[in-house]
């Protein structure tokens, strides 16, 4: 019999799939063993997809010569220089932009953009690079093998590789040789309910208040209101990664 249509019969597939799912549910149900919840406090329910954490950074407010956010990030996470600027870990850095035609100079701070569709997660061979339910893109160092594919995949050059044996790491950020790392959006603070990143705190202390952290999913959050009323941009918006970090006046 000749096959008149080269497309598979989707109804047939659906039926078979449904049958497999139904038998699967029956056989699994009696033997299901659930892990007892090992959390002590009730409020520590973990990351939720109800939120999507993000940032908006106003380049006009970012002051020339200031490095408060970079310094704060380094002390918060115990990032120490090993005297080799090329390989020293930098989770946030300042970038100078110059329009060659007009010679207008602009400044921005660049870190992991916490994309909705992160290329680093796509390429990771060990699922070490992952996106949490609340949109924060992290490296699970328990799984990272240090292949650095993610560093090559990241269009923002946001990730660092640890080349040195470390000791006395910060309790906020356990990190070690042979792993890739990047901005965690101060995940240790968020999980404790502190809704302010170290860089934002430092920027506010300096009186610039260029960085604002908040929940992009909450229409009433300050960050959502600003993004709704202002002309913000994503860096490399053409890649359609839907970044969690947005810029004003860039």
């Amino acid at each position: 019999m000749s096959n008149k249509c080269d497309q598979p019969n989707m109804n047939r597939r659906k039926l078979i799939g449904g049958a497999i799912a139904a038998t699967g549910a029956m056989t699994i149900a009696p033997g299901v063993i659930l892990h007892a919840a090992s959390t002590t406090s009730e409020d520590s329910t973990g990351a939720s997809s109800k939120h999507r954490w993000g940032m908006v950074i106003d380049s006009n407010k970012c002051a020339e010569g200031c490095s408060a956010c970079v310094d704060a990030c380094q002390s918060e996470h115990g990032l120490e220089s090993h005297g080799r600027p090329e390989t020293d870990a930098k989770w946030i850095r300042t970038v100078k932009l110059k329009d060659k035609a007009t010679e207008h100079e602009n400044r921005l701070v660049l870190m992991c953009q916490h994309c909705e569709n992160p290329p680093c997660v796509d390429v990771c061979p060990t699922t070490a690079s992952f996106k949490r339910a609340d949109g924060i893109v992290l490296v699970d160092r328990h799984r990272c093998i240090g292949c650095r594919y993610c560093m090559m995949a990241c269009p923002y050059k946001a990730r660092s590789f640890v080349h040195e044996t470390l000791s006395n790491q910060s309790i906020n950020a356990p990190r070690g040789k042979g792993c890739v790392e990047a901005c965690t959006l101060c995940v240790h603070r968020i999980d404790e309910g502190v809704m302010q990143t170290a860089c934002q705190e430092a920027c506010e202390k300096e009186g610039h208040a260029a960085i604002l952290f908040g929940d992009l999913n909450d229409p009433n959050s300050e960050i959502s209101k600003i993004l709704k009323t202002s002309n913000s941009v994503q860096i490399r918006a053409d890649l359609e990664l839907n970044t969690g970090v947005r810029y004003l006046n860039l």
Binding site: T39, T165, S167, I171
Partner: protein, 158 residues
């Protein structure tokens, strides 16, 4: 057939007799270092034997919950182990838990395992950190000084 059975049985008895002193030393040794916070606590975060036997699995389960799901304040937290079990030297400074004769190293050295935990995790409590606010607090358990009526013999190694 019969003779081989007897020889098997006697072999087992011989092995047991040979291993007994070593097992006894291992079983009786107190792992808790005297100058650590754990010395003050009555019990560990769970039944001590359970934690002693299964801590590697408990920690492995907990690390995924924390890193990937963002659950903090888990019961079996490595930073809490360190917080509680790091001993203090004469100057009151914390001694790394993986130093010779310290809590983690003593057993791991004995059973010849090298856990990779401390490639990334710090080995002393962070002074003035928020870490001791998270999760388990030994002060919740009443102090029991009788626990140390026998001094930690440690594990003898040559």
């Amino acid at each position: 057939m019969r003779s081989s059975l007897i020889s098997n049985r006697s072999l087992i008895i011989l092995l047991a007799a040979l291993l007994a002193p070593a097992m006894q030393a291992f079983g009786e040794s107190a792992y808790i270092t005297e100058t650590s916070k754990a010395a003050e606590a009555k019990k560990c975060v769970d039944e001590t034997d359970k934690v002693r036997r299964n801590h590697m699995d408990l920690l492995k389960h907990g690390r995924d919950e924390t890193v990937r799901e963002g659950k903090r304040g888990i019961t079996y937290s490595l930073s809490e182990c360190i917080e509680c079990h790091a001993s203090r030297n004469a100057q009151g400074e914390a001694v790394p838990v993986n130093d010779e004769g310290e809590f983690c190293q003593t057993c791991h050295g004995y059973v010849a395992v090298t856990p990779p935990c401390f490639q990334c995790h710090r080995t002393t409590p962070e002074e003035g950190s928020k870490g001791n606010q998270i999760g388990y607090h030994p002060s919740e358990f009443e102090s029991d000084n009788n626990r140390f009526h026998h001094q930690p013999v440690g594990i003898q190694r040559d």
